[in-house]
């Protein structure tokens, strides 16, 4: 028994099976977490090796090179790059997307094991790090306080950090910008010298005074007492009263030579939120956890935690990476609802019966929900790809049901009993329905096989649409006939209500007129085949010639997520006060100038080493880093790209700024990040590559780029104390002891820990700030020899200004420097690549420097290549499916002519709207192949049918056009109009999928218009050709049978 006859015979079972699918789907929908993109495993591994004392070039030759040479043979490696700087070598291995990172790590570990013995003796064991998108903080909170500032670190640590770290899925919580409490003993060097004291002596004294020591037990009478010396400092005041020495018979107290400050650490990173000093709480998630869920949980906790805080402490969100995710998914949800409404209207418009409309539309939620079950079962998320797949699929899922319903209706109208008509009518079209679903599957299933970055993005799209199409076909073959058998009645035109006639009489008249006009055009075209073919070829050639060169390409469109990050570098060594002034000036200026800015968080200064996140970013007293949040793009006029362009030109006005980097979207490259053009310059000679980088940078500026970033830092100025070995030897000193003296005075010595209510605070002894400000102060530092003789540092050596060479960066085993430029407005990646390549070719680079386009260009080329291959594969598959359906090679060939016109439509659409060809648009073009042939199939199939029923070729074709125009228009319109919300979307994240919606809409519309005329003409030509051949054969056979008897 066939599927549909059992479905019609058992309506309850059938209905409940689909209800069950829907329930599973709803359950999945409720429990599915949301995310921006499908989970992408990181593809980078870092290997860090330290070799203390070695210079950058030593590190390069002795560590980086041997490691690179060995690691280069790890399989699936895409790029290997290294950073060699003083003491440290960091090698990054970039693997091809989709490579299992665990296996890659093991391979790398094996190789490291092999090469370890060849590394210099003093080098540490290479350590492997994995760094991925999971390490990016998901939530950054700002903390501002007034009265509680002094104790803020402790309050935050106890009341916020510990509590938040307990939330499920939170990886690490760190506090930055809030100075820790520290007890500082700030000494006056002159007084120290006068009393013959040293920093070291004071430190060790403090250490030995601040002690609790058990002295054993004592037995008195029948009791045992333990005996202790309990002299740990009870308050920081006690330290001042320590006796540190005696002079001329009197006690020298610590307060005589130093002041004790119980305060906050000096010179740490400061952060401001909207101009107000405060700190940041940085929250990272555990690997593989869902950001949105964690942030929701954290936000739930926050009000509870805030209650326990002193009233002057305020917590605010600075960066919430999930805001954009939630908004994007929200705008996709709206898109899906709009699409649903549009499809509903189109179906109702064409069918004119509400019962039929319901039968068709019920397949949409069921197929969509079924695909959610897949997402749930495979542990995926509701993300941009899976949601836009749903939106794409809506227009296509109704096609099969429409065909089935149409045939059932015509049988019922002829007088069949609905129950039986449902079975027989479905039986008649089942093959055609399955075949047209197969052509769609032929497009989407191969997508699941694509490798690389595109594979990660489109595997889900492929699976989702394939599942939706499969389920909708099942629906059309089981649910639709079942519902038709119970719901449809023979149409009684006279019984229709007045309003119904009012609306649908003109519609039907219009559609009939359209069919008749089309039939007339077709009739004319069939009689003027040459002209039609000439026009078609002309269109193809003209569009190819005109639009082809105008087309631009890019990788992944930039997404406006409302975030801008700015890094400003002043000359190295700029004092923090000056940096702070500039930072606050920029802060005030921008917040006044851009009302779009909701929050502006900035940080300057050197980060504490215990703040993982802050210390990983570049930091220093001369660096300002800003995080700007502009809110949803729907609520502002200027895009973040425009805003950041203005910021770039404003930053260029400041002469004191050495370099700056404004990144719209908060990240470069990758998914939806800022698109940049990157030129990699390879060459061994620093001078030559530096010169080349400066040249390329100036060419970029000539092309309208506002900022360029050269990857190599300049030589960094610093002071070096050059000790004279002979002199220090004379005093019985060595370099290490002198260096320690120096360090204890400038950086300070941690003497001991001050304990208070369970917490420990450092007691740091050093020179008071006013005595360590100039070179003179350093030269005047007193060093004591082993015999106790006081010597000034200037007697032991000289202080010289020196330049530290920059980090040596290598990529693919060659020294390189990269120049990165964000694209100016209205320029696509392909434009910029061409323009800059032309400049480089024209002007040439210094000898020994070679260049290559870097950045995401590699990924782009590779992805386009694999999508191109996919396209060929899909064309072949679609052809095979059609050839099997028609059992002919000619008809599929004829239908395939729709494909070039789809590309013509795509080209026209891209050029007219100025949209670059991104991978999304490319995927749209690939999808179009499977959809455009469906119209051809319907037309050719019906023309064949007419011929089998005995019509002549031309009549068969015209009649097929006349009677099939409605279903063709209906399925095309549901698909094209279903794409419109995607193509015209202005919501969050719409930049990414707009290209896809647009290519499908344009490709399908243009190809439908052209193929409605061109394919029938070609059909006639080939059919006539086939007929003539058949006749000739018959004639020949007849002649032969006649001639044979004559010969014998």
């Amino acid at each position: 028994m066939s599927l549909f006859s059992s479905a019609v015979k058992k309506p309850i079972t059938t209905a409940l099976i689909f209800v069950a699918i829907a329930i599973f789907g709803i359950f999945s929908l409720i429990t599915l977490p949301i995310d921006l993109f499908p989970h992408i495993e990181s593809n980078t591994i870092m290997v860090m090796t330290s070799y203390s004392g070695a210079s950058a070039s030593d590190i390069e030759n002795n560590i980086s090179k041997p490691l690179e040479n060995t690691l280069n043979s790890v399989s699936y490696l895409k790029h290997i790059s290294s950073q060699s700087r003083e003491n440290v070598s960091v090698i990054s291995l970039e693997f091809q997307y989709g490579r299992d990172i665990e296996t890659a790590t093991n391979d790398v570990r094996d190789k490291l094991e092999m090469v370890k013995s060849y590394l210099p003796d003093g080098a540490s064991n290479p350590v492997i790090f994995k760094f991925g998108s999971d390490d990016i903080p998901i939530l950054i909170l700002s903390v501002t306080a007034k009265e509680s500032m002094a104790g803020l670190y402790k309050i935050m640590d106890e009341k916020i950090v510990n509590e938040l770290a307990r939330v499920n899925g939170v990886g690490s919580v760190s506090v930055s910008g809030i100075p820790k409490r520290e007890i500082m003993v700030l000494c006056d060097p002159y007084k120290l010298d006068a009393y013959n004291l040293t920093i070291e002596a004071i430190s060790s004294l403090i250490a030995s005074e601040n002690r609790n020591i058990p002295a054993g037990t004592i037995e008195t009478g029948s009791n045992t007492y333990s005996l202790r010396v309990q002299k740990e400092f009870g308050s920081s005041k006690e330290i001042e009263d320590l006796v540190v020495g005696s002079y001329n018979g009197g006690n020298v107290y610590l307060r005589d030579v130093a002041r004790v400050v119980d305060g906050l650490q000096e010179r740490s990173q400061e952060s401001f939120i909207n101009g107000q000093l405060g700190g940041m709480v940085i929250i990272q998630k555990q690997t593989g956890e869902n950001s949105v869920q964690i942030v929701d949980k954290v936000k739930e906790e926050l009000p509870k935690l805030e209650k326990n805080l002193p009233s002057d402490i305020k917590l605010n969100v600075i960066i919430d990476t999930t805001e954009n995710i939630t908004r994007t998914i929200g705008s996709l949800e709206r898109t899906i609802v709009i699409t649903l409404l549009i499809v509903m209207l189109v179906v109702f418009f064409f069918l004119g019966r509400w019962r039929a409309t319901i039968i068709i539309l019920i397949t949409i939620p069921i197929s969509l929900l079924a695909s959610l079950v897949y997402l749930y079962a495979t542990g995926n998320t509701l993300n941009m790809i899976s949601m836009s797949s749903l939106s794409i699929a809506i227009g296509m899922v109704v096609d099969a049901a429409i065909v089935v319903l149409e045939n059932i209706t015509s049988h019922i109208d002829k007088g069949s009993n609905p129950k039986q008509a449902a079975v027989y009518a479905t039986n008649e079209v089942a093959m055609a329905v399955v075949a047209s679903s197969l052509t769609t599957l032929a497009v989407f299933l191969p997508m699941t096989l694509v490798s690389g970055l595109a594979g990660i993005m489109f595997r889900q799209l492929g699976w989702m649409v394939s599942i939706v199409i499969t389920v909708s076909t099942l629906c059309a073959l089981a649910l639709t006939p079942m519902m038709c058998s119970t719901m449809l009645r023979a149409q009684n035109k006279d019984k229709d209500a007045g309003w119904y006639k009012l609306i649908f009489t003109p519609i039907n008249k219009f559609l009939d007129w359209l069919s008749r006009t089309y039939a007339r055009i077709l009739d004319w075209a069939l009689r003027h085949k040459r002209i039609v073919v000439a026009i078609a070829v002309g269109i193809l050639a003209a569009v190819g010639a005109i639009c082809g060169p105008l087309m631009k390409s890019e990788f992944i469109p930039e997404q406006d997520n409302g975030r801008i990050s700015v890094t400003v570098q002043l000359p190295v060594g700029t004092r923090q006060e000056i940096t702070r002034d500039l930072a606050l000036e920029l802060d005030r200026r921008w917040r006044a100038e851009f009302p779009e800015i909701q929050r502006l968080g900035l940080a300057e200064g050197t980060a504490d080493s215990d703040n993982m996140f802050a210390s990983m970013r570049s930091n220093g007293s001369h660096i300002i880093s800003m995080n700007i949040s502009c809110g949803s793009m729907e609520k502002r006029k200027r895009s973040i790209k425009e805003i950041s362009n203005i910021m770039m030109s404003e930053l260029a006005e400041y002469n004191q700024i050495r370099r700056f980097n404004v990144v719209a979207g908060g990240q470069q490259g990758g998914m939806g990040g800022q698109t940049v053009c990157q030129i990699d310059l390879y060459g061994y000679d620093f001078g030559a590559t530096d010169e080349a980088a400066a040249q390329v940078s100036s060419w970029f500026k000539e092309l309208g780029v506002k900022q360029t970033v050269i990857s190599r830092d300049d030589y960094i100025p610093e002071y070096q104390v050059d000790l004279d070995r002979e002199k220090i030897a004379q005093y019985g000193l060595n370099t290490a002891t002198v260096a320690t003296f120096l360090r204890n005075r400038i950086n300070g010595a941690i003497a001991s820990e001050y304990r208070e209510s369970g917490d420990e605070y450092d007691i740091r002894v050093r020179y008071a700030p006013e005595y360590r400000q100039s070179m003179k102060d350093v030269e005047n530092i007193t060093v004591y020899s082993s015999t106790g003789q006081a010597i000034k540092l200037r007697e032991l050596g000289t202080i010289v200004e020196a330049m530290t060479p920059p980090t040596i960066a290598r990529k693919d085993r060659e020294r390189y420097v990269s120049v990165t430029a964000p694209l100016p407005d209205g320029m696509a990646t392909s434009d910029m690549n061409e323009a800059i390549s032309a400049k480089i070719e024209e002007n040439g680079l210094p000898a020994g420097v070679s260049w290559k386009i870097g950045g995401t260009y590699d990924d782009q080329v590779q992805t386009f290549k694999s999508l191109g291959l996919l396209m060929v594969l899909i064309i072949i598959l679609v052809f095979i499916v059609m050839a099997a359906q028609f059992e002919s090679l000619t008809y599929p060939f004829v239908i395939m002519f729709a494909v070039p016109f789809a590309f013509v439509g795509v080209l026209i659409g891209l050029v007219l709207t100025g949209t670059p060809l991104s991978i999304m648009a490319m995927v749209g073009a690939v999808m179009t192949i499977g959809i455009v042939v469906n119209n051809g199939i319907v037309l050719v199939d019906y023309a064949n049918l007419n011929r089998e029923r005995g019509m002549g070729i031309i009549r068969a074709v015209v009649d097929s056009g006349h009677s099939r125009l409605r279903p063709v228009l209906m399925t095309t319109l549901t698909t094209v109009l279903g794409m419109l919300p995607l193509a015209l979307g202005r919501g969050e994240g719409s930049e990414v999928w707009r290209g896809m919606g647009m290519t499908v809409a344009w490709g399908l519309s243009v190809s439908t218009v052209v193929t409605l005329v061109f394919v029938p003409v070609l059909y006639t030509i080939f059919a006539a050709f086939g007929l003539t051949r058949k006749r000739k054969k018959a004639l020949k056979a007849a002649n032969q049978t006649q001639t044979i008897p004559q010969n014998s």
């Binding site: 049988h411 002829k414 007088g415 069949s416 009993n417 129950k419 039986q420 008509a421 027989y424 039986n427 008649e428 064949n944 049918l945 089998e948 029923r949």
Partner: protein
């Protein structure tokens, strides 16, 4: 005694069986999914690409008056939905 041969669109199956019941005919032989084409007009029922519908064929042997009543009933069905096509042929048969 008459032999009644009925050829009809399979969509009419239920109606034909009902007609048989109405005139109290119990016995019949039925072939489902058979091909057929009318001599004068109407669509062929060939189960092919061009003519996808199929016929059913039935033969029943009844008394003369039952055959008459059956023919009337079947005529009514055919008149109701002429597009589907239903034809009845009878011939006299020996009773032994």
């Amino acid at each position: 005694m008459k032999a009644v041969f009925i050829a009809y669109n399979e969509a009419q199956g239920a109606a034909v069986l009902e007609a048989l019941e109405k005139v109290f005919i119990k016995g019949f032989t039925l072939w489902e999914q058979v091909q057929g084409r009318g001599s004068r007009d109407g669509e062929p029922h060939l189960g092919s690409h061009a003519w996808p519908t199929m016929n059913s064929a039935m033969v029943t042997f009844v008394e003369d008056d039952a055959s008459k009543r059956l023919k009337e009933r079947l005529k009514e069905i055919d008149d109701l939905k002429p597009a589907l096509g239903l034809r009845v042929f009878t011939w006299t048969i020996d009773e032994d």
